[in-house]
């Protein structure tokens, strides 16, 4: 039965699991209870495995890391964010953090599945058989996933900051992690994201220096802008010039900018790719 599922069907199942985590957490919050870390994490793990299989099937069909169209890129961003959550997020021991992560996973996967035009063109072998280019692309998009998790943490920070400044501490605000913990997590996630993006750009620059015409100006400018904003925010945070609320807003802006830059990334494809019109599968 499962062997017959297409890549998109696996990804729909993954989205359903992420959405289940979101629904479970929401129901708990509506009852005034803390979202269950176990139940939400179980939904996330199940969704993650299905998404991994779905992206694996797609990657097998496209002959490389599935980053050939906007649908695949957004799916990969979601998968990256969940990967990082499973690697480090569970140590935060906050059911609420798992809850919002499942929300991010559900939002990104459902939106990408719901826009047929994002998956209308299936591109194969987009990296021209060059593993370094593939690694560059995978790392760059993975860093966007890290920025996604950073944005969630920043949103939680702003909520906690609001609750403390406005002196609303009870109810659902009591489930939030401490503001100092959130600040530390933000700083570490930004450092991880910037480091991965720096590595990705370093790999890409080697290839680009050999053939500067291979990368469109829009993609180059957008990617460098995302990197510059992330690096600047990290630097200013490190020297104590960008703190607390302003730092959280900067991190949210960084993720928004990263998502917007996907347009430029998607529109600039490797010249050697083989575009193939494909009808999106259910």
């Amino acid at each position: 039965m499962f062997a017959d599922l297409t890549d998109r069907q696996w990804l729909w199942v993954a989205a359903a699991f992420y959405a289940a985590g979101l629904v479970l957490g929401t129901l708990a919050l509506l009852r005034g209870q803390r979202p269950s870390g176990f139940a939400v994490s179980a939904a996330i793990v199940a969704g993650y495995l299905c998404q991994w299989i779905g992206l694996g099937v797609r990657g097998h069909a496209t002959g490389g890391c599935p980053l050939g169209n906007r649908f695949e890129i957004v799916q990969f961003v979601a998968w990256s964010a969940i990967t990082l959550y499973l690697l480090v997020g569970v140590t935060f021991r906050s059911g609420l953090f798992g809850y919002v992560t499942s929300g991010l996973g559900a939002a990104l996967t459902l939106v990408s599945l719901s826009v047929p035009s994002w998956d209308a063109v299936l591109r194969t072998h987009i990296f021209g058989g060059n593993p370094w280019i593939e690694l560059h692309a995978a790392l760059a998009i993975f860093s966007y996933g890290v920025f996604g998790l950073l944005a969630l943490t920043s949103a939680l920070f702003l909520l906690r900051h609001f609750s403390l400044k406005s002196k609303h501490l009870g109810g659902r605000f009591s489930f939030l992690p401490s503001i100092l913990d959130l600040d530390h997590i933000e700083f570490r996630l930004l450092a991880i994201g910037v480091a991965i993006l720096t590595l990705a750009l370093a790999f890409g620059s080697v290839y680009w220096s050999r053939d500067t015409a291979s990368v469109g100006h829009a993609k180059l400018a957008a990617t460098l802008a995302v990197w510059a904003v992330g690096a600047l925010a990290l630097f200013l945070r490190g020297i104590g010039r960008l703190l607390a609320k302003r730092f959280a807003w900067a991190c949210l802006a960084l993720f928004a900018g990263a998502l917007l830059s996907l347009q430029a990334v998607d529109s600039s494809r490797h010249p050697g790719t083989t575009p193939m019109v494909a009808t999106p599968r259910p």
């Binding site: 002196k167 009870g170 009591s174 401490s178 503001i179 703190l243």
Partner: protein
């Protein structure tokens, strides 16, 4: 062999005001036990004696056992029986078991959901065991009461939030710093509320505490009691940057911590939040400090408001707790009836004479 008869008799904060409870406070439990030692109708016996209640849980051969306890207690306290009967609590059978469940879980407490009562009930049970007066029925009733109390405290909001000013201050600090182990706390003022708050922080794991007050001897006394250091009162502003949490409760009539001093401290530690808790009236800390980035300023009214909301939230949980506890008491009662070979009467409400057995 006659049927065992479970009962509770006593007085609580519900009907007995403080001045009456002072007269009812049992000075020596062992003396009362000695008074009742020769009473054949009493098979099992336990005493719960706290500042808000004196309750005697017993198992007797019939209803007269409760009367004998009442008579012995009133005689020992030199308290008129007629007056006691006007304010007393007297429950039997399933209702007595349910009452113990509610007491142990904090549902019946004056400060709803408080923790201390659970330990007091455990102590009462331990004392009864040590005295050899807890038998098979009381053993089961108390064990089930502990289980029920743990269940409702875990699965309802009866114990959620804190309701004392000192503990609200500690919870607030945890919302900002998480673990308090690494937070540095400065307490300004050597009055009662400052000392209580310092103790609350120490009990929650704050390891680096300092006390500062105009009365140096009093500061040393508080500091010694909780293993804290002493900061000269005059250094409070110049060394403010060293601390994460400042609790101020002095009797000063003017501000003792200016916004400029707080701003100066934050320039030296911009990335680390500063929690200022002003429990003084008139206030000790310049309110303009609240506008600074990463500074969180709370005053006495703010903390009292949080405590009041927590208390209201706990009281809103009472009905849900009572349903859970009643189900568990019913289960216990059915078990005890089966063990005694008595048919369970579910028709009448708990506490009715028909529920006196076992």
């Amino acid at each position: 062999m006659s049927e065992p008869f479970l009962f509770v008799i006593g007085a609580t904060h519900h009907n007995a005001p403080l001045e009456v409870r002072e007269r009812l406070a049992l000075a020596s439990e062992s003396d009362l036990r000695a008074d009742l030692a020769g009473v054949d109708s009493i098979r099992e016996f336990a005493v719960l004696n706290t500042c808000n209640r004196v309750e005697f849980y017993g198992v007797g051969t019939d209803e007269s056992a409760a009367d004998r306890v009442q008579a012995a207690y009133c005689a020992r306290q030199k308290f008129a029986v007629a007056e006691f009967e006007r304010i007393r609590l007297r429950l039997t059978g399933r209702a007595a078991a349910l009452h113990l469940f509610e007491v142990a879980s904090g549902v019946d407490s004056q400060l709803v959901g408080e923790n201390e009562i659970f330990g007091q009930v455990k102590d009462a049970y331990a004392a009864a065991q040590a005295a050899g007066s807890a038998g098979s029925v009381l053993n089961r009733v108390f064990q089930k009461a502990f289980q029920a109390a743990k269940h409702v405290r875990t699965h309802t909001g009866i114990a959620a939030g804190t309701v004392s000013i000192a503990n609200v201050a500690v919870e607030l600090a945890a919302d900002i710093f998480g673990s308090l182990g690494g937070a540095k706390v400065l307490v300004l003022g050597t009055g009662e509320i400052g000392g209580m708050t310092a103790k609350a922080f120490a009990s929650r794991g704050a390891e680096d505490l300092a006390i500062a007050g105009r009365r140096t001897e009093a500061a040393h006394e508080i500091a010694t009691g909780i293993g804290a250091g002493v900061l000269p009162f005059g250094d409070r502003e110049s060394r403010l940057a060293e601390y994460d949490i400042v609790v101020s409760s002095t009797a000063a009539t003017d501000t003792i911590l200016s916004a400029a001093a707080v701003a100066g401290a934050m320039r030296r530690r911009p990335a680390r939040p500063l929690l200022l808790i002003d429990l003084a009236v008139p206030r000790d800390i310049d309110v303009a400090a609240a506008r600074l980035e990463n500074v969180f300023l709370y005053n006495l009214d703010d903390l009292a408001g949080i405590a009041e909301k927590n208390r209201a939230a706990r009281e809103a949980e009472i009905a849900r707790c009572r349903v859970i506890l009643a189900e568990r008491a019913e289960g216990l009662w059915s078990h005890l009836c089966r063990a005694a070979g008595i048919p369970v009467d579910r028709s009448s409400p708990p506490g009715q004479p028909g529920h006196a057995a076992p």
